[in-house]
Symmetry: C2
Subunit: 300 residues, 2 copies
């Protein structure tokens, strides 16, 4: 099968949504920049749009002929990266239980189960290993360390260390730094979400990530910034898995974020530290309660 054309399909779908808004499409390089793909892919998209009668395409002229129909879109599941597919599949097994710590991971079996080549699985495991949930035995198999209480504690320990430092760095940024405007915008979004929390509570997860990433970036340290990938990944699946009291949890978190933002704006390091600690403590608590006490590592 060699390589799936998910980049094309995903970009095609996103391009379809653009069609609603305009009567004609921009130049090829412009479209490429907009969709985040190369001109080669843009041209494939345009070619298909012409074929299906969505646009008339003649050199520079790309006139929209009709609005896209639901079945003009490629199915969602065909737009995912192989890496995403493997990760989802792997995390499902991991969190669904039955994946005891100490268990060994079989590349070939995983590949067959997901229906992909071994190379992709191998590359996934290597990439995934930095999350600290799996480990490779020298010239042998991978071992599952398990999503345990210990893991959550180790993760949050680093998170707290890094975020306290980043928050302090943030508060120390000069008044004319563009981050303050970013912070204003995020505060607005928080206030809006707080108002409509009853219906929009599930949008918090995404806002949460953007907020914390903004703070971590103030550290100007690639290791701190990159570590947020680990946190984001874990919380992403945690949110998907543990829906208990989601609304209430998120409502509390939004409140904590707003206090945190105010503390940052005060530039009072004591206040920043306190607000940051308080929020991280409850975030840790949420994560911990989602991990069953029983899950203990199988062997040393």
């Amino acid at each position: 099968m060699s390589k799936s054309n998910n980049v094309y399909k995903d970009a095609y779908n996103r391009c379809l949504r653009l069609l609603d808004e305009t009567r004609s499409l921009p130049s090829e390089p412009e479209l490429g920049a907009l969709l985040g793909v190369s001109r080669t892919t843009v041209r494939s998209i345009l070619a298909r749009m012409e074929e299906t009668g969505l646009i008339a395409w003649n050199k520079r002229a790309k006139t929209v002929l009709r609005d896209p129909h639901p079945d003009d879109f490629f199915p969602e599941e065909e737009t995912d990266t192989l890496a995403e597919i493997i990760e989802r599949s792997f995390m499902r097994r991991l969190l669904a239980g039955g994946a005891e710590a100490g268990m060994q991971i079989n590349e070939l079996e995983l590949a067959r189960e997901i229906g992909v080549g071994t190379t992709s699985v191998r590359e996934f495991l290597i990439r995934f290993s930095r999350f600290g949930l799996i480990e490779k035995r020298r010239n042998s198999h991978w071992v599952l360390k398990g999503f345990t209480r210990a893991f959550a504690l180790e993760l949050t320990e680093i998170r707290e260390m890094f975020e306290l430092r980043s928050a302090a760095a943030f508060a120390a940024l000069p008044q004319d730094s563009p981050v303050w405007a970013d912070l204003d915008r995020l505060e607005d979004e928080h206030r809006q979400l707080a108002r409509d929390i009853a219906t929009r509570f599930n949008e918090f997860s995404e806002l949460d990530e953007r907020f914390h990433r903004l703070i971590h970036r103030a550290s100007h340290n690639r290791f701190i910034v990159d570590f947020y990938d680990v946190i984001a990944m874990i919380f992403h699946y945690h949110y998907q898995w543990n829906k208990a009291q989601e609304r209430q949890r998120n409502e509390v978190a939004v409140g904590e974020h707003l206090a945190y933002i105010e503390a940052l704006r005060s530039r009072d390091l004591g206040k920043v530290d306190a607000a940051c600690r308080k929020h991280l403590k409850s975030a840790r608590q949420t994560l911990l309660t989602s991990i069953p006490e029983s899950r203990q590592p199988a062997r040393a």
Copy 2:
């Protein structure tokens, strides 16, 4: 070519060194455990040793017939992992200069230059990416971030954060913890090295790594422990590259380690903190002086 038999060759060489010491070899499983390889590999080794007349092998009896000759050994370069070969090759290019930050990395070109397949290079790059020296552009090439001053500062910032915490955790360990015995042994080795520093100064690098890893392990945090891989890698190549005043630098470092060890043993957190800071500060200085000021990132 599919797969090189470097595991076999390396284990064979190590097994040859065992021959000097005994008149007969232990059982296959025992040998496997000793050499860190499977019985399959052990049997290949024994088979060859029999062929070349090094041993007489009949079931349990594995009698040594003669001492190994220098050309019984496989050449050193055939015992390296592909990953090691690629890493060395890559780091040489990186440190040899001419590798400007912002430059793009070509998998195929690298693979051809080193004489390996693209898959191995890809896997290496993925693994290597956690060191923060390269970065992947979404569905496109890798970009070199460069071994810059900024990199060294970011690295050491985290190192200091982690090691101060680990050292504090270490000092707080109960008296009956086995780490104190490990520390004693390391102290001895330091004292011996200090005595013969004039001739053995190049042995410091390895001792340094063992010492710091012992301390980091006290954190009981996988992210802290794993981060030492980044430090070890950087310092490993740094030591190889920058030989200026090596003897003197190492002599100073050994002294600092001894003070650090004493502080740990005093279990006085103030002293530990001071000794740790002092040593890390000079380690950072050493690293920084090896990076030419001129090397600036090419683009944003």
